[in-house]
Structure formats: structure tokens, C-alpha cells
């Protein structure tokens, strides 16, 4: 029987064939929550009469959203989580370590696993061919408590990406283009499966944008195959033993298929206040839009490869007067590597600032809240009204290259004007 990747993962877990639309009870391999979803998950565990984890090695708590704590409330919630983790012997990933999704990718997620996280961007784990999906605090707590959850087997939407990326165009642009095409509800309840000759040539960090943003099209999960690039990445992370090849059958029936020739794309920008409002950077709607703040980072584009691209443009230049540049590495590993490569020096000398690893300005609770009427251009994954803490501000989304080029000019700028 031909199966898509999500069907293979689920069939292997539940021990029988599955079909889209079916409800299944499945064991869960890893479960995590963070400082915004964790406190309620802990409350719910306690109300279930929780008295210890059967498999504490499957459970983790991350302090990444308001990190380090930004208010007395967040400081006390961090304290609650630290004490709970210590009491019940589960791993706590404390402030300064980075964003849960980046750390799951660097250290923990494995091909074929089922991962439940109390955060919508949990789907990032799909870059390693794990069925990783976001849920609320109560579902997360129950998955921690029982070690299993129920899922509806999703239909698959296959995205076949071919062609060489043109100069100044990156995987972020491809994903913005795909979401712009199918819409922000275009993959609701479904699995987005990313394949094709272009994707086969991309490294895992390059691919990660795609599953990360799958939820921006409403998807339950976004999956990449586990292949040679996956093995390279896991080996580089000292986890060669975690590698296992895994891919959907290319001819498996699916609900939808879209072919994308990446060589025809131009850099993309998503307009406020929705991710699916993507246009080409040369579109009149974004030309010369004034940028008050540029934010580089997040679980979407806060990796070392992203900062190499951005600093390649920023190095030796000055950002525009009246534009702020904030950079936040996604993890401590990225932070240390950027330090060794002098990337932060380039950002600081260009007039920007670098924050400690974590979600930074993205959730709108700290370090970069926007003023009323201001425009932010960011590498993040969503631009909803109020996202960065102020409903009177405007958020545009783009690649690290477009963001860096725009920081130099102070207006939204085509990176092909500066990328060699």
C-alpha cells in the first residue's frame, strides 16, 4: 500500500494501516511545554491527580518566550516551572538556552517520532520527518500524563519544489509564496509534505522554514523526508545514531499537489496583517515602505545560516538613521557559533543590537515591542495584528536577506540590489 509520510509515521506507531479522516489513539514519543503554555499544563496535571511521570525522559519544559523574565508574573511562572521540573525529575531548559523548536531540532527530535508541544510552531520538528504538532496546554498535559493522544489522520498536500533558487531568493521566500498561494486556511487539518529535487539539495536548517510555517497555512504538521541531508545534519549535531531514512511514497494518493519552480520566484514579502498576503518585493505595495524596526531571529529564521546571510549584507555598512536592528539567535549553539564567526560584531558595528537566545520580540511581551503606527520588517513567521505587542503597529515578513538589505536603506528593499 502506497503511503504519504504522515500515514507511514502514524501506521508505524499504531501498528495498523491508517486512512485520512480516521481517528487513532497513538503513543507519543516526546512532549514539551514552555513558559506560556507550561503553567496551565502543570495546573491541569495536578488536577488530574498527577503523581509522577512514567517516562520522565519524554517530557521537557522550556523557558523561552518571556526569557529572561520580563514581569513579576513571568518570573513567578518560571519559578513554578523550575520547581515542578525539579520535583518530578524532568528536564528544564532554562533561560538563555533558546527557543524550544530550535532545541528540539538540534538535540531531540528523531525521524518517525510523534512529538506534541504546547506551542503552534511545534510543527518545526517535521524537518526531521517527525510528526510534530502543536496543541494547547490541556492536550499537552494529558499527553504527558497518559503518554498518548488521539489524532485525526490528516489528508496530505504534497509540495514538489524544483529549480535552483535565484540569487537573493531563499527557502523563506518559497514558503511565503506557497502560503500566499494556498491561503492561511489552505492546509487546515492537513499534513504538508515537502519534497522535490530542490528540497533534496537543501540542508536541514534551510528546510526548517517550511515545516515551521506549515501552521501559518493551518496545517497539523509539515514534513520533510529523512534523507542524506538529514543524516548530515544529525551527524554534525553528534546524533548520527538518531538517523533513519524515511520518506513518503512519491506516488501515494494525496488530496492536493502543487509544483513550485523555485528558479522563477523573486523575494517575497507578506503584508500586514496576514501571512498569506505575500507579494513579490518589486510589488508597488511594498516598494519604499518605511521600516522603523528590523527583527532578525525566531524559530523561523534564527539559525546560523540565516545570520550568515544577513551579516553578509550588513558587514561593513551602517543601518539607516531612524531604523532599529534587533537580532536574536534561536539557540545558545547559534549564539556561540555566531560569536566564533564574528557575526554579532558585524551586526553591532552596523548599528544593531544582539539579544540573548529565545523568542525575543516575536511574541510581543518583551525586547522590541513596536510603537503605534510603526512598521517592522521581520524574519518571523506571523504578522497578525498585535503580534509584537501593539495592535496599532504593522508587521511585514521576509527573508533574512530582505530584512538586512532593508535595515541599510530604511525602506523595504530588494536584496538582489545588494546580494552578490
Amino acid at each position: 500500500m502506497l503511503m504519504t509520510l504522515v500515514e507511514k509515521i502514524l501506521a508505524q506507531k499504531v501498528g495498523h494501516d491508517v486512512r485520512p479522516g480516521q481517528l487513532v489513539m497513538t503513543p507519543v514519543d516526546q512532549i514539551f511545554a514552555h513558559d506560556l503554555s507550561g503553567p496551565l499544563a502543570i495546573t491541569q496535571l495536578r488536577s488530574l491527580g498527577f503523581s509522577g511521570f512514567k517516562h520522565p525522559e519524554k517530557v521537557r519544559f522550556f523557558l523561552d518566550h518571556a526569557s529572561p523574565s520580563s514581569t513579576v508574573t513571568s518570573a513567578n511562572e518560571h519559578k513554578t516551572i523550575r520547581e515542578f521540573a525539579a520535583e518530578w525529575g524532568v528536564e528544564l531548559i532554562d533561560v538563555g538556552e533558546g527557543i524550544c523548536h530550535q532545541i528540539m531540532m538540534e538535540r531531540y527530535a528523531r525521524p518517525g517520532e510523534i512529538i506534541i508541544g504546547g506551542d503552534s510552531h511545534t510543527c518545526t520538528g517535521g524537518v526531521l520527518a517527525a510528526l510534530a504538532t502543536g496543541m494547547g496546554s490541556t492536550d499537552t498535559a494529558v499527553a504527558m500524563y497518559l503518554g498518548r493522544t488521539w489524532l485525526r489522520v490528516p489528508e496530505t498536500m504534497r509540495f514538489v519544489i524544483s529549480g535552483k533558487l535565484p540569487r537573493g531568493v531563499y527557502s523563506k521566500d518559497v514558503m511565503l509564496y506557497m502560503i500566499g498561494t494556498i491561503g492561511s486556511g489552505g492546509a487546515t487539518y492537513r499534513s504538508m509534505e515537502f519534497v522535490g529535487p530542490a528540497l533534496s539539495g537543501w540542508s536541514v536548517p534551510e528546510r526548517a522554514v517550511l515545516p515551521n510555517m506549515a501552521v501559518e497555512a493551518g496545517a497539523k504538521c509539515g514534513l520533510c523526508p529523512s534523507d542524506d541531508k538529514t543524516r548530515d545534519y544529525l551527524t554534525q549535531q553528534g546524533r548520527a545514531g538518531d538517523y533513519a531514512p524515511l520518506a513518503g511514497d512519491p506516488d501515494a494518493p494525496c488530496a492536493f499537489e502543487m509544483k513550485i519552480d523555485a528558479s522563477t520566484l523573486e523575494p517575497q514579502v507578506a503584508l500586514p496583517h496576514n501571512v498569506d498576503l505575500a507579494v513579490g518585493v518589486t510589488d508597488a505595495k511594498v516598494r519604499d515602505v518605511r521600516v522603523h524596526q528590523v527583527y532578525l531571529g525566531t524559530c523561523t529564521n534564527g539559525r546560523i545560516e540565516d545570520f550568515r546571510i544577513a551579516t553578509g549584507i550588513l558587514k561593513g555598512n551602517r543601518i539607516a538613521n531612524g531604523t532599529r536592528l534587533i537580532a536574536t539567535p534561536a539557540s545558545r549553539q547559534v549564539y556561540l557559533q555566531g560569536l566564533k564567526e564574528g557575526l554579532w560584531t558585524s551586526i553591532i558595528e552596523a548599528g544593531g543590537l544582539v539579544n540573548s537566545p529565545g523568542c525575543g520580540a516575536c511574541p510581543g511581551v518583551q525586547t522590541g515591542i513596536l510603537g503605534s503606527g510603526e512598521n517592522c520588517l521581520s524574519t518571523m513567521n506571523r504578522n497578525f495584528k498585535g503580534r509584537m505587542g501593539n495592535p496599532e503597529a504593522f508587521i511585514y515578513l521576509a527573508s533574512p536577506a530582505t530584512c538586512a538589505a532593508s535595515a541599510l536603506t530604511g525602506v523595504i528593499t530588494d536584496p538582489r540590489e545588494v546580494v552578490q
Binding site: 503554555s37 488530574l48 502543536g134 490541556t138 486556511g185 493551518g218 510581543g364 495584528k385 498585535g386
Partner: protein, 165 residues
């Protein structure tokens, strides 16, 4: 669930950032205050004027974005009897049922602001008493019907000791 309530109309793509703005995250330990900001960035008059038993009525993709479970919690605490939408984002949908808020996927075209509505959840039936529109909707999957009937997921697990699938 046949009592009537007023329709509060919302657009497509109502994000959880609009339902529960991140800038109020410091109010998580103060739910009565947080509820005063329910859906504030979508329309500021909702939280101040909604009456118990009213209905939130929306277009497509209601609840998109962040998984913050307080989004359906504060809609429920604001007094809304149910959310009616053409479609829901999946995390919100699951969260709503888990916290005991009825999320009903139904064609909301033609329902106007302020209309008097009633919903029969068991029969899968919505009636707009102001303009006479009647719509049917598909029942929830059995597991979700049970969770909702038990009053939410925690109550469901306490009652059965496990998912009762």
C-alpha cells in the same frame, strides 16, 4: 441549548492574538480582568457588552495562529454559549472542546450582527430567528462529543481514566 442569544459578528481569520492579545499575558493569573479584553483587538465592544448566552459568529479560519488555550477559555468565560464559524483553525478547535466551549462548524453566511440565534447541538441545527435562516451542521467526532459532554478534557479523563475513544 435551545435558548436564544445575540449574534456578535466577526470576520475571517480571527487569530488567537486578536482573541487574547500577548500584551495581556501578565493577566494570566487574573482571569476576571483578562476576560475584560476578550477579542478586544477584533472589536472592542464585544467584551464590554456581551451577555451570557450570546454567540460569537465568524467566517473562515477562526482561531488561527498561536496555541494559547486561554483564547477559548476567555470566550467561554465572557459568557458566549458557542462559537459558530465557517471553519476553525485546528488547534483552537481542539482547545475549545477541551475547555468545554462548543465550536460549531456551520455556514454562517446571512447571519447578521445582533440577530437572535438558537443552537441545538445534539440535533446539529442552528436557527436565526431574526431572518428565519436555518442551517444544519455535522456532529463532532464521537471523541469530541464525549469530551464536550463531560465538560472538557480534564473532566473526561477524570471520569474515564483515559480517552474514551
Amino acid at each position: 441549548m435551545n435558548e436564544r442569544g445575540r449574534a456578535w459578528l466577526f470576520a475571517d481569520n480571527i487569530s488567537t492574538d486578536l482573541i487574547f492579545p500577548g500584551r495581556y499575558v501578565h493577566l494570566l493569573s487574573n482571569m476576571p480582568e483578562l476576560v475584560q479584553h476578550t477579542l478586544e483587538d477584533a472589536r472592542s465592544d464585544y467584551a464590554t457588552s456581551v451577555k451570557p448566552g450570546d454567540f460569537v459568529v465568524a467566517g473562515d479560519n477562526f482561531g488561527m495562529g498561536s496555541s494559547r488555550e486561554q483564547a477559548p477559555v476567555i470566550i467561554k468565560l465572557s459568557g458566549a454559549r458557542a462559537v459558530l464559524a465557517k471553519s476553525f483553525a485546528r488547534i483552537f478547535f481542539r482547545n475549545a472542546i477541551n475547555v468545554g466551549l462548543a465550536a460549531i462548524e456551520v455556514d454562517t453566511t446571512g447571519i447578521n450582527e445582533g440577530d437572535s440565534l438558537s443552537v441545538d447541538l445534539a440535533a446539529g441545527h442552528v436557527k436565526d430567528h431574526t431572518n428565519g435562516i436555518e442551517r444544519r451542521f455535522e456532529p463532532l467526532p464521537p471523541i469530541m462529543t464525549e469530551i464536550l459532554a463531560d465538560g472538557g478534557l480534564i473532566e473526561h479523563i477524570r471520569k474515564h481514566g483515559d480517552f474514551n475513544l
